[in-house]
């Protein structure tokens, strides 16, 4: 393409060269960040078009670290900018409008889950459709030990105090890793589609167990779920820090505790994701990561070359599951309510979709996929519905059409799964390697014919699209 230079391409290329210069790139990035932050700051909830602007501005903000990461600027500047965005800008935006903080926590949760699943599916090539089960294990672990529901643990007075939360984060890692190994053991001999079916069954088993373990001994409070789960205690200093920060921004918080709590969850979420990123990256770039890649590409050759399949597969299952366990503990503490319905198959599939949409196998891509899909699920479509409602109430007329006459059945939020399904179909047709493809995966997909039976991951789009 670069060899053909038409008159139209000339200015585009010139522009691109210009933007690639570090000084220009830095200026453009800073300008972008300033605009996004100013828009977010200037948004007014009472404004008619608030949902639309919010839908544009917040994703632009969430995506800004990824833009900074891919910009042609120095590594040091990137670190400073990304650190500033995540550790300073986001909390400030969150104090300004806590709904953004809630979204940011959800993005952290799903990013962590997607990165964990990526170890199993992306690195080791083991298609796992029951990944949400490990998340459930972590969530139920914290919920069972702190919920006020009439469970056997509550009745026998075994509830733990809320300050044990950090300890339970670590216990969650351990328990989920053990669960991962328990799932791994029976499925070691299975590959591809067969493995997917068994893991799917495992995911459902955990959910059904959670729903039915209220009889004969009440462990999980059944379908009613566990309510009044303890959130971790908020240190006094944290609350005062939150309110003084808000005061500095010129906001007086009527009720500072929930904001401080959300802020704490946000930082815990960021910390977990940061640890997960470091662990995933170090595992990938090591003999373990090479062994996983080898297993993914040719299992028979890998074992013949001395790669212990059993050990390496169990390690992948355990590593992937352990992250989900810690995030489950965080989730339970944040929601203060855990019920079996939060851990359905569709959740497993959503996480898998994040991994694949972002770019199977690549850490940055998977994070981007998690952010994009979470925003789409939780913000974009919901806001479109809100916008529609706002316009309806105003009796807004567009091109002679009364928005009021738009049928309520056609609200965007009701078509969440449809839009999601379409997105997946379009992605798989036009960019099967994801938004930010991992280089090796691209090579693997390019010559798919050579590794047909070994490529465990290629069947993934099938069940995903079908599930919608």
């Amino acid at each position: 393409m670069a060899t053909v230079t038409s008159a139209a391409q000339q200015p585009i290329r010139a522009l691109r060269n210009w933007a690639a210069r570090p000084a220009v790139a830095t200026a453009l990035i800073l300008l972008y960040l300033a605009v996004v932050l100013l828009v977010l700051r200037g948004l007014d909830r009472r404004h008619l078009w608030f949902p639309t602007f919010s839908t544009l501005a917040f994703p632009a903000f969430v995506l800004s670290p990824f833009i900074v990461m891919s910009a042609p600027i120095s590594r040091r500047l990137k670190t400073i900018l990304i650190g500033g965005l995540i550790l300073i800008a986001m909390p400030l935006v969150g104090i300004y409008d806590t709904s953004y903080l809630e979204l940011a926590i959800q993005i952290c949760i799903f990013t962590g889950l997607a990165l964990g699943l990526n170890i199993v599916v992306g690195f080791a090539g083991l298609l796992d459709l029951g990944y949400i089960a490990f998340f459930a294990v972590g969530a139920y672990l914290w919920a069972m030990f702190t919920s006020q529901a009439p469970t056997v643990i509550n009745i026998s007075g075994l509830l733990v105090p809320a300050w044990t939360f950090p300890i339970f984060l670590i216990i969650g890692v351990g328990i989920a890793a053990v669960t991962g190994i328990l799932l791994g053991l029976p499925v070691l001999r299975l590959r591809g589609d067969y493995l997917a079916i068994v893991t799917l069954g495992f995911g459902e088993m955990i959910r059904v167990l959670a729903r039915n373990l209220d009889q004969p001994i009440n462990f999980t409070n059944g379908a009613q779920g566990l309510h009044n789960v303890s959130p971790p205690p908020i240190p006094e200093i944290w609350t005062s820090f939150t309110s003084s920060t808000a005061n500095l921004m010129g906001i007086s918080l009527a009720n500072v505790t929930p904001v401080a709590q959300q802020l704490l969850f946000y930082f815990v979420g960021v910390l977990i994701v940061a640890i997960v990123v470091v662990v995933a990256r170090r595992l990938d770039d090591s003999p373990i990561g090479r062994a996983w890649t080898a297993i993914r590409e040719d299992e028979v050759a890998a074992i013949a070359m001395g790669v212990p399949l059993v050990k390496m597969k169990l390690l992948a299952f355990a590593a992937g599951a352990s992250f989900a366990g810690a995030i489950g503990v965080l989730y339970a503490a944040k929601q203060t309510f855990v019920s079996p319905e939060s851990f359905s198959l569709i959740q497993s599939i959503s996480i898998l979709a994040m991994v694949i949409v972002g770019g199977l196998g690549g850490i940055r891509g998977v994070m981007l996929g998690a952010a994009v899909v979470t925003l789409l699920n939780l913000q974009v479509l919901k806001n479109m519905s809100l916008q529609l409602n706002a316009l309806r109430q105003m009796d807004f007329v567009i091109f002679g059409f009364h928005v009021q006459n738009w049928p309520t059945q056609l609200e965007p939020a009701k078509y969440e799964r449809l839009v999601f399904g379409l997105l997946l179909i379009i992605m798989m047709i036009f960019r099967p390697t994801g938004i930010l493809p991992e280089p090796r995966r691209r090579i693997e997909l390019q010559h798919d014919d050579v590794v047909t039976d070994e490529d465990d991951v290629s069947p993934a789009p099938g069940p995903m699209v079908g599930a919608n």
């Binding site: 373990i288 090479r290 890649t293 890998a302 074992i303 070359m305 090579i443 693997e444």
Partner: protein, 267 residues
């Protein structure tokens, strides 16, 4: 004997792919296993490397039984192999392929990996240095960072041998290593096999159809037909063995008539 196979049998349902095979491979030798298509040569390799479990019989390697070991344990015990249809890790680079081959010689600690301590860095340095040595041994150092799938056919064959050598084997099994090569490539490959033995001291066993290679390089040849050993001995003896000629060319062409039930060693 480095490798001693005794009365080895492998049945798949009603078909017996390897029947009562007994053979010995002396340490430091270059041996060949030949036979018509479907004679059970690759099955024998798969039995030796633990990919198949034998139905009956014994395999002694370096003084201990390796029957029932999984392929990775067999590799760790000192037997490495290549495959008839090249089985490199296609999207990995040449050097990464070799690094995977070293897996059984590494000390893999998750803690070291996560902490990135000096033990980890030292090992990674050693792995990368050794991989480069092996690449230069097979003449592929300049292609270290090329994705193995994009390498020319002959290079892929050589890379597969280098990957097998990465586990420091005592014995290397090469399954049709010159298949599909042109005459010049075949000559170069044959020299490589000899260097593996002479310079690295590794015992070589190859399955081969190209008789110039087999007769030119092997000190000892075993002939399989229909899963059974029909002959063994030095190249000259095999060349003139009536049963071998018969197995390859058919009974009438060979002009000999033997009892159907005669399954003893003809060599």
């Amino acid at each position: 004997m480095l490798l001693e196979v005794t009365n080895l049998t492998k049945s798949f349902g009603g078909i017996t792919a390897v029947r009562d095979v007994t053979l010995g491979i002396p340490e430091g030798s270059i041996s060949a296993i030949i036979g018509p298509n479907g004679a059970g040569k690759t099955t024998l390799f798969n039995l030796l490397t633990g990919i198949y479990k034998p139905t009956s019989g014994q395999i002694m390697f370096n003084g201990r039984s390796i029957v029932g070991l999984s392929p990775d344990k067999v590799n760790a015990a000192g037997i490495a192999r290549t495959f008839q249809n090249i089985r490199l890790f296609p999207a990995m680079t040449a050097i990464e392929n070799i690094m995977v081959g070293m897996h059984s010689r590494l000390k893999i600690s998750v803690i070291d990996t996560l902490l990135r301590n000096s033990a980890f860095h030292q090992q990674e340095k050693a792995v990368s240095d050794k991989a480069r040595d092996l690449l230069s041994f097979v003449g592929l150092l300049h292609k270290a960072n090329e994705v193995s799938r994009n390498l020319p056919y002959g290079d892929q064959r050589r890379l597969e041998i280098a990957r097998a050598l990465a586990s420091d084997p005592k014995l290397i099994l090469l399954d049709e290593p010159t298949a599909g090569m042109n005459p010049q490539e075949t000559v170069a490959a044959t020299q490589l096999f000899r260097r593996v033995r002479d310079e690295l001291g590794i015992t070589v066993v190859l399955i081969e159809h190209d008789m110039t290679v087999v007769m030119g390089i092997s000190e000892h040849i075993t002939v399989l037909d229909y899963g059974q050993k029909i002959a063994e001995g030095p190249p000259e003896a095999i060349r003139n063995n009536a049963r071998v000629v018969e197995a390859y060319l058919g009974r009438r062409a060979a002009g000999t008539h033997q009892e159907e039930s005669d399954h003893g060693d003809a060599a």
